[in-house]
Symmetry: C2
Subunit: 311 residues, 2 copies
């Protein structure tokens, strides 16, 4: 899978072997990379025990010590405290010229700060947005990274293994911070596009007189229609189970990138109304519109004597 | 291309040889169908003169007369007056058992009415939503139709030729009206999804400090990302021309189906906030928010003494 047989197979530490990190370690190892894996959870390490090409370590220190200089450490930890803690430890354990890649869904403003802080210690930094979800192991990941030229060059052989193909699906977007920025916008688009599909299917379902087969309509749209997409493919996969819609609560979590995209819209003064409304719709699904809706019900009673629905 | 060699090649009239109708006539003829084409515009007919398998007629009457009974007439006329006029003429010229397929982007409520009116004359009717745009000739069309069982069976051999493949990309959705209903919802989703991409790319462009290459980011996202889609493919094609964004005015037309989808949301009481907002954003792009924005500017001046921007 390595594009250039003259490029030696990369060696790196993968820190954080959760759903994303573990599959990325597998894909790298299967592509010929030498992967030193570490996760604080023994179960996470155990899940990779049978993977040839992944050497597991019981501590971050051990994983780092196993690397040849200059070292490359790829973090796949939750953004915030876990990533900050690991970065602080790595500052103590790495040497000038070593490279840290943060593959978490971190806020790009934090990544810009990390790049500055690590540079003061002589360490190189790249922020890498990773898309592909649980399908990345088989299909490859879409990688968008921000880094200076030297760090980007060091990252490229790894990116070629993780991407869907050596020549596509990875991009050095710009300076440090730009990788997580591009990933943030990617996820913002995802919020808006997902919401559009959800609303459309809800309208299909709501037209009871036509008794439409939602899975069949979705499958139809996958072929030749303007709205064909990978999100539609996933939606159809889900709808094939006739109990799927009844099996989940109408509660949609949000995990940060949607909020950051709306923050960025406000920061720039660039309107992103549909992305913002998709985020607000998720908040409403979480019950956060209930207070407002109760108030509206009371107002209708107050000025119009309308009946209110009690609990 | 015909799936079943035992099924005789279909014969039909294609009425309306505009951008969509002409390419559908071509695709049908190249698939082995016998197509009798008619358009009131001589230039539209002339454009198909070199297409083997398409026989051109100078009047609707001639095209209908050339068909063997039971006749199949496919309309690809603009919804509204042109379609109504043709339907009225066809009522006079067709015989019981003949089939009319309306492939326009018609309002499904009109299609339900047409089905009832034509049934009173013994004529069969199918409403067929057609997606695929100018790429349909090469890639095939996504076809969603509403019809009774007999009309649907008559339509199937034609659908198999127009679709991307004989076994996919076409669906008998339900009773008359359901085809145009499903197509309407398809287009509503398209409004929301397009708007999400547009907002995301605008935020990328607005982050000037990163100097991002929009075409490169879009191309990246086509490979392995969660937002990969045909709409993204088209967006990237457009962005490859560095002058593309400067070459068009920031004015987005709307052509009916978005409005109808929002009407349907109101009719059902099923929320479609993102689709509605995408439609409202198009209205704003057409200058229809200017009065409101002028008023807001005057209000700010009135209560806060804020400076207003004059023309």
């Amino acid at each position: 899978m390595n594009a250039d047989p003259l490029t030696p197979a990369p060696t790196l530490a993968m820190v954080g072997l959760g759903r994303m990190g573990a599959n990325m370690a597998r894909r790298l190892a299967r592509g010929g990379a030498h992967v030193h894996g570490f996760d604080a959870q023994p179960e996470a390490r155990a899940a990779l025990a049978d993977e040839p090409g992944v050497v597991l370590h019981a501590s971050l220190a051990d994983a780092v010590s196993a690397l040849p200089a200059p070292r490359t450490v790829w973090l796949m930890l939750p953004a915030g405290e876990p990533s900050e803690t690991a970065l602080a430890e790595l500052v103590a354990r790495l040497a000038p010229g070593d490279l840290i890649v943060d593959g978490a869904n971190a806020n790009y403003l934090d990544s810009q700060r990390h790049a500055r802080e690590l540079e003061a210690h002589g360490l190189r930094f790249a922020d890498c947005g990773v898309s592909g979800g649980v399908w990345g192991l088989a299909n490859g990941y879409c990688l968008m990274y921000g880094a200076d030229a030297e760090a980007a060059a060091r990252l490229a052989p790894i990116a070629r293994l993780l991407a869907p193909a050596p020549d596509r699906g990875w991009l050095h977007c710009g300076p440090p911070g730009s990788g997580h920025f591009v990933k943030m916008i990617h996820n913002g688009i995802e919020y808006g596009a997902m919401q559009a599909y959800a609303e459309g299917f809800a309208l299909l379902e709501g037209k009871t007189e036509f008794d439409l087969d939602l899975a069949a309509v979705g499958e139809l749209w996958r072929h030749g229609s303007v709205v064909r997409s990978w999100l539609l493919d996933l939606t159809v996969d889900a709808l094939r189970d006739p109990d799927a819609l009844d099996s989940v609560a109408p509660y949609v979590a949000d995990s940060g990138e949607g909020r950051w995209t709306v923050d960025e819209s406000v920061r720039q003064g660039t309107p992103a109304p549909v992305i913002a409304l998709a985020l607000m719709s998720r908040f409403a699904s979480q019950g956060r519109a209930d207070v407002g809706n109760r108030l509206l019900s009371l107002m209708r009673k107050g000025f119009g004597g309308h009946a209110v629905k009690t609990k």
